[in-house]
Symmetry: C2
Subunit: 270 residues, 2 copies
Amino acid sequence: MNSEELYSEIKSKGSFLCIGLDTEMDRIPEHLKDHEFPLFEFNRSIIDATHDLAVAYKPNIAFYECQGAGGWLQLEKTIEYIRVNYPRIFIIADAKRGDIGNTSRKYAETFFGRLNCDAVTVAPYMGSDSVQPFLGYEGKWVILLALTSNKGADDFQYLRTGGHEHLFESVLVRSKDWGNAENMMYVVGATRASMLVKVREVVPHHFLLIPGVGAQGGELADVVKYGMNEKCGLLVNSSRAIIYADSSDRFADVARDKAKEIQGEMKRLI
Amino acid sequence: MNSEELYSEIKSKGSFLCIGLDTEMDRIPEHLKDHEFPLFEFNRSIIDATHDLAVAYKPNIAFYECQGAGGWLQLEKTIEYIRVNYPRIFIIADAKRGDIGNTSRKYAETFFGRLNCDAVTVAPYMGSDSVQPFLGYEGKWVILLALTSNKGADDFQYLRTGGHEHLFESVLVRSKDWGNAENMMYVVGATRASMLVKVREVVPHHFLLIPGVGAQGGELADVVKYGMNEKCGLLVNSSRAIIYADSSDRFADVARDKAKEIQGEMKRLI
């Protein structure tokens, strides 16, 4: 999917919502736990209930991997279900991978080849040759970590580097020429929306994936004010606040209500 | 496994060799490809042929993940095979994970709980709360990326940060108090062995996992000269140079010869 197609979906749905599928056995409703594929059944219900309100889904790989081979199967089934039923949805594998070249090539094969995701999150620490293997796939995207929304972001991402910029700015400056605004996006946490100004100075045209709205705090209006560009340029993620809004057999309806609330605000802000 | 037990293995085997199981379908001998579990069959042969020469095995998760659920199953079988047959071997999941707290907890559950590995490699970019969840497991280890052996290490790891040290030194300085020399190790690439001097100034007592000897270049004698400490403190990894030394049905014997060669040099250097 290219940026024009993504933007077209955003306009048509009045939404730049990404729903994070951080699906875990301990938190899904009791009545689903006896299913052969409980994580997949949960995801299917959430996706059916919200597909017209969201432009992207973001399965968090850790939550499937921790169930072993059976978890991977349910991840594959989830992605295939979206591909078959809602082909214009953008699918992000939240994997935060990053390794030397031949290993990154394997990760790229996994997420772009085998799983046919549109994008994968990648960590920058190992530099360009750990990212390049992901950039050779037509219509696929690397979403590189720049500024994350967790407390630990302070440890290294805000360090001042040689040119007196923050490390996360060095990551943006150096990496933006590895690819372009058609195959790279950045993760930028919403916990300090004013930092979006600095981000937009370096990468005005790239899409940004913004976590930290919802369970992690953050303000949608500020994100739009400081982060939106000519093609919207934003995917704002919410995971737990939507998918675990209710734990009864009405969970999917309540998730829809919650997604509708966020999408309504997005529609006003676009 | 604690550091004393690991050191005892190193002394008894005259080896600080870690063998990387970067096992891929395209590179294993033809006659194994028809097996139900070809990656596992390959690993089993390599492990049986080298277990007395190596103190650690390091499966590279990317190479299993790219085979989907079936790949995960073969990873699980490999680890279980080592646990049952060679219980004093140290097992490292080379996963380079790192995410916000609740996601890192899932990764820790996967690699320490479900798979029962001794250690997992973790990327530092997201800071302390992305590492802490791995540190709560008795006898288990985080191996944090400090200085990697790939070309892209230059992009960020050698940046000068506020205190004029390199970023990889900041990672060492800040992270060493997150845990201690009984639950943290560091990845330090061998491509510039002189950097080991700087590393040892900050973390004299920690074990270091050294890639980059073998297929990635690097000199064992220099690594020992600059990196060894009172408990050896080194695990030197070799992957492709050992496991793909031969592609005939004699591959395991040739892998043993290659491992024996490295172990012989290690024994002289200890």
